[in-house]
């Protein structure tokens, strides 16, 4: 019995029972459990870095939201910071202008608002492809930035939004100076967002998305209406991005225009490609590598750290088209035999 044979056998059962196959795909592995246990390490061993790790968890959630549309559905976007920023501003305004600083409802309202905007935008997104798609997402992102900039009576403009106050979580966990609460809160949100996304990509809907990514023309032929699928995932992605943005506001009590900037849109795609697109752990790993590198390199030389990110990006694209995680899993598979 060769490995090849069992693989063929597995494939034939997959054809017979697609639902069984999907279930097999979504089974938890030991590595995954280990990863989430490892996510608790900063609490005990790096308490001085908790603020950084909280930023990483938020960036990872944002990267997951982009992975859903870019990695799974194949919508290349250079403007997703618009939803991150909308979430951040809604959470900030709730507290600064309306005096509502309850974090969990704040997250929900921000996510719902970003999702609503995402749903409206999705009607435009499905109309265009290729370069026009990249340009429309870029244009919408820049448009939102300029809008927030010109509405400085509401957003505080370039000075940033001051006076954000976040209440204790569930009336019990106070946001502390060290970031224990902030990291626990972000990690919990990341885990929930991850579980939801994991459920989505391992469903038949997730499979349809991958079909759209691979071949848009063939999906309608096999009876799958791709536009509506794309609109759904785009809206879901906007909700998650909005929640990530709101988390940033609540853990830092400050909003600047930077949350809407092109830089943030570009950075998140860079994170994703570093980790590997089309795999949720790629998004998390990418955010981890990117922000750790930024923290360390910016500490050595604040002006030039983008040199190393740029170089890493070029190397990854040329030599590891599936990202660092994809490369690792290829290596594991090769030596695992």
């Amino acid at each position: 019995m060769s490995a090849e044979h069992t693989q063929i056998e597995r494939r034939s059962t997959a054809v017979q029972q697609p639902l069984e196959w999907l279930k097999g795909q979504s089974r938890w592995s030991v590595f995954e459990l280990l990863f989430w246990v490892a996510a608790l390490i900063p609490f005990f061993f790096f308490p001085t870095y908790l603020t950084l790790f909280s930023q990483i968890a938020i960036a990872a959630l944002f990267a997951i939201s982009v992975d859903l549309i870019l990695g799974y559905a194949g919508i290349v976007t250079l403007g997703h910071a618009m939803f991150f920023g909308l979430g951040a501003y809604v959470a900030g305004l709730l507290s600064a202008k309306l005096g509502w600083g309850e974090p969990i409802t704040g997250l929900m309202i921000s996510g719902a608002f970003a999702g609503l905007v995402g749903f409206l935008v999705s009607f435009l997104i499905v109309r265009v492809q290729h370069l026009a798609l990249i340009m429309v997402t870029l244009g919408l992102g820049l448009l939102t930035y300029e809008l927030a900039n010109s509405m400085s009576w509401l957003t505080g403009g370039t000075d940033g939004l001051l006076g954000v106050k976040t209440w204790d979580i569930l009336g019990y966990f106070r946001f502390d100076l060290w970031g224990y609460t902030a990291y626990g809160y972000s990690l919990a949100a990341l885990l929930i967002g991850f579980l939801a996304s994991r459920r989505i990509v391992n469903s038949s809907f997730g499979l349809a998305l991958r079909g759209i990514r691979e071949n848009t023309a063939r999906m309608p032929v096999i009876g799958s209406e791709y536009r509506w699928h794309l609109q759904k995932i785009y809206t879901i992605s906007a909700v998650i991005a909005g929640i990530a943005g709101a988390m940033l506001t609540q853990t830092t009590n400050f909003v600047t225009l930077e949350v809407l900037s092109f830089q943030r849109s570009a950075d998140v795609v860079v994170m994703l490609i570093l980790g590997g697109t089309g795999r949720l752990y790629g998004a998390i790993l990418g955010a981890l590598i990117f922000l750790l590198m930024r923290d360390q390199l910016a500490g050595i030389n604040p002006q030039y750290w983008y040199f190393w990110i740029g170089l890493l990006l070029m190397v990854v694209v040329l030599f590891m088209p599936k990202g660092i995680l994809g490369r690792l899993s290829d290596l594991v598979r090769r030596f695992g035999r």
Binding site: H130, I134, M135, G139, L143, F307, I309, M314, L318
Partner: protein, 287 residues
Amino acid sequence: MIGNIAIVLFDGFAFGMLLFVLSVGLSVTLGLMNFINLAHGAFGMIGGYVTVLAMRQFGVPFLLTLPAAFLIAALVSVFFERTLFRRLYRAGELNQVLFTIGLVFVATAVATYFFGTGQQPIVLPSWLRGSVEIAGLRLGVYRIFLIAIALVIVALVYFGLEQTRMGAQIRASVDNQRVAQGLGLDVERIFAVTFALGSGLAGLGGALAIEIVGLDPSFGFHFLVYVLIVVAVGGLGSVAGSFVGAALLGIGDVAGKYFVPEIGSFLIYLLLVGILLVRPLGLFGKR
């Protein structure tokens, strides 16, 4: 009021012509190979720094630095094209976008290392400074010079594409790469030459831009957005499209910032999204 409008139109057109010189190369190479080169603005930046360096270190007159900016940007670009970019022609658009963004990051950091983050001003020769009065309007001499150069380039590019053997080969490759290859055209060589010429023009644009918008290491990123708008609105591979797109964007940008400064840039992006939704291939796009 009418005088103001005329001045805005003139300044906007001059800015648009600058954008045309910066972006026409990208439009043609994108149409030719479908290679999304976001590092195009970085080649423009090279041209700008060549001019600054030549004028300041070696005392070369401004006019003579322009061909140097063109040549060096072209040489650097063809080096990158032959060694790196060509590996990505068959890759997905996302990989092309990210690779070239990575290159812009590196170029920005290298420029910061050698020149610092500050603006790099140059001193123009006296005959290019000041303004002249034509029909009651005070027009900047440098802007007239800019428009004249751009129109010469439009004529050269148009003549080159329409009347020369090389131009016919480029047009054939843009229209249908496979058939062109089947007819025995060396599409890859044609692409390398086009890429060099296009990046050279970007370098020239970068040198010309110093006086209008300044030059600092963020040039590559800052102009990327403008250049992409011109290309996307004009349509891939269309010189006429780039010309109209650049003129529209230049006039729209200057007019927006002059008449409605609060929402000027907002209107530009609104226009971009609107045009692309109605015509996803751009105003003059064919494919």
